[in-house]
């Protein structure tokens, strides 16, 4: 019934969710594309640099998350309620996922055993999927009907695909498999933007400016992807970097819309 304006501290929560989803999406997509042989990007340099990049993104995400908490030093107790708390489960998966990414990094540098690397990849994919599911579970509350529906997990998965694919495009060398990734990116941006507009239209109609910004950024990204796909814009690193920044800004705007639509079903 009553609505709460997004608090200042929640911007850190927005950054945490988007960055964590970017890291997860990047890791999962990279590993999937490599092991299915769809992307010819199975080289040592990509593996080491992408694991390092994922690790850095996770580190930044975790640091931003601490600013959202009242007493960050008590964070050591957050695994106490795995039985029923989705937040506890999310933190569990964050820790497992981070440890696996670090293990992948070390394996690529020192061990270089393919079987071990494959086990870490599979474990990382499972932990990453668990992380996205538990992240969605946090917001699917009976008390907040606007969040308690399919658009929440859909939004989180799409953010992971959008940001993960654009990160993968940035890290890998350009080749003919890029067309497939750009097609995936095109569809993910489209559905992510539609999901955000649906959340906005069913909630309290506030923050029009953000929705306009989100729409413009999504359109800019979609047009860029089409132009790159048809080779009108060169498929080069600076272009991909700009595309990543546009998409990150767009997803952050979308997530702020999501959080601002927090409306209690009760009092």
């Amino acid at each position: 019934m009553n609505t709460t304006e997004m608090e200042k501290g929640s911007i850190f929560l927005v950054l945490f969710t988007v960055l964590m989803q970017a890291a997860t999406g990047f890791f999962i997509l990279k590993e999937l594309f490599i092991y299915t042989g769809y992307c010819s990007c199975n080289d040592k340099v990509l593996n080491i640099s992408s694991s390092a990049a994922t690790g850095i993104i996770i580190l930044i995400a975790l640091l931003t998350a601490l600013f959202h908490l009242g007493k960050p030093l008590n964070a050591i107790y957050t695994l106490n309620n795995l039985k029923s708390s989705w937040l506890s489960r999310e933190i569990f998966f964050v820790l497992i996922f981070s440890a696996i990414v670090f293990s992948c990094f070390l394996t690529d540098i020192f061990l270089k055993i393919k079987t071990v690397r494959l086990i870490f990849s599979l474990a990382g994919i499972i932990a990453g999927t668990g992380l996205i599911i538990s992240m969605s579970g946090i917001y699917m509350l009976n008390s907040v009907p606007l969040w308690n529906n399919f658009s929440t997990p859909a939004g989180f998965i799409l953010t992971a695909i959008v940001t993960g694919t654009s990160l993968l495009l940035l890290m890998k060398e350009a080749n003919k498999t890029d067309s497939f990734l750009y097609a995936v990116l095109f569809l993910a941006i489209l559905f992510s933007a539609i999901n955000s507009i649906l959340i906005f239209s069913t909630g309290n109609l506030r923050l029009y400016t953000l929705l306009v910004a989100r729409t413009i950024l999504s359109l800019a990204a979609i047009i860029s992807v089409i132009l790159i796909y048809f080779s009108i814009i060169p498929n080069k690193i600076p272009v991909r970097l700009v595309l990543l920044l546009i998409l990150l800004s767009s997803e952050v705007a979308g997530r702020i819309i999501f959080f601002t639509n927090y409306t209690k079903g009760g009092l």
Partner: protein, 204 residues
């Protein structure tokens, strides 16, 4: 373990907020933190019958704090188990464990847990546990000049007042089984809740 419950007689509540002030005073709550809150529900519409318009205004008050639910959503949501049911059957917060993530406040449909920006932890009504262990009523109940509030075990309260009604705009009680019995104001039956406004006046 006893299951404590509040009784709220909305039909006699005048909205004076003495309960709210008594709670703030007893628990020395910081500015902006109200464990007990008095909500004013008001609204209305017009009804047309044979070309004659009749007004249907309504207004009533509901005084709410923690409902000490049998199946508390806040306890389930808390990642650290800071929010827990203690030996006396009361949902309380262990501030040594609380991280101030506010997840319990999101999960509670009654908005009972409140974040204290000074202490940087969540706070909530503890049913004046120190009073009830001495056989006294909680400060909000004892202070009510209209005797609109009562407190006891859930069995005592339901035996005395019946099971009550789920008054608008309270959420479906099925989700967390709140231990609260409400005698509604006569206006709560008026069929125009879509035009209702709920206000919570802060007294700091």
């Amino acid at each position: 373990m006893p299951e404590y419950a509040f009784f709220i007689n909305s039909s006699v509540c005048s909205g004076c907020k003495t309960c709210q002030i008594a709670c703030k005073d007893k628990n020395e709550l910081s500015k902006g933190i109200n464990w007990r809150r008095v909500y004013e529900i008001e609204g209305g519409n017009w009804k047309e019958e044979n070309g004659v318009f009749t007004s249907l205004p309504f207004s009533y008050f509901i005084s709410l704090s923690c409902q000490n639910c049998a199946n508390p959503e806040c306890v389930k949501a808390c990642p650290t188990t800071a929010m827990h049911v203690n030996a006396n059957g009361i949902v309380v917060i262990d501030h040594e464990l609380c991280i101030g993530c506010k997840y319990c406040a999101w999960a509670c449909p009654y908005g009972a847990p409140r974040y204290d920006p000074l202490k940087k932890v969540m706070t909530k009504c503890n049913l004046c546990e120190d009073y009830i262990t001495k056989g006294l009523k909680p400060s909000c109940v004892a202070s009510c000049p209209m005797r609109a509030l009562d407190f006891g075990t859930y069995n005592e309260i339901t035996a005395k007042y019946g099971s009550g009604e789920n008054v608008f705009p309270l959420p479906d009680p099925g989700t967390c089984e709140p231990r609260i019995v409400i005698k509604p104001h006569k206006d709560y039956l008026k069929p125009c809740k879509e035009h209702a406004y709920v206000t919570e006046n802060e007294y700091n």
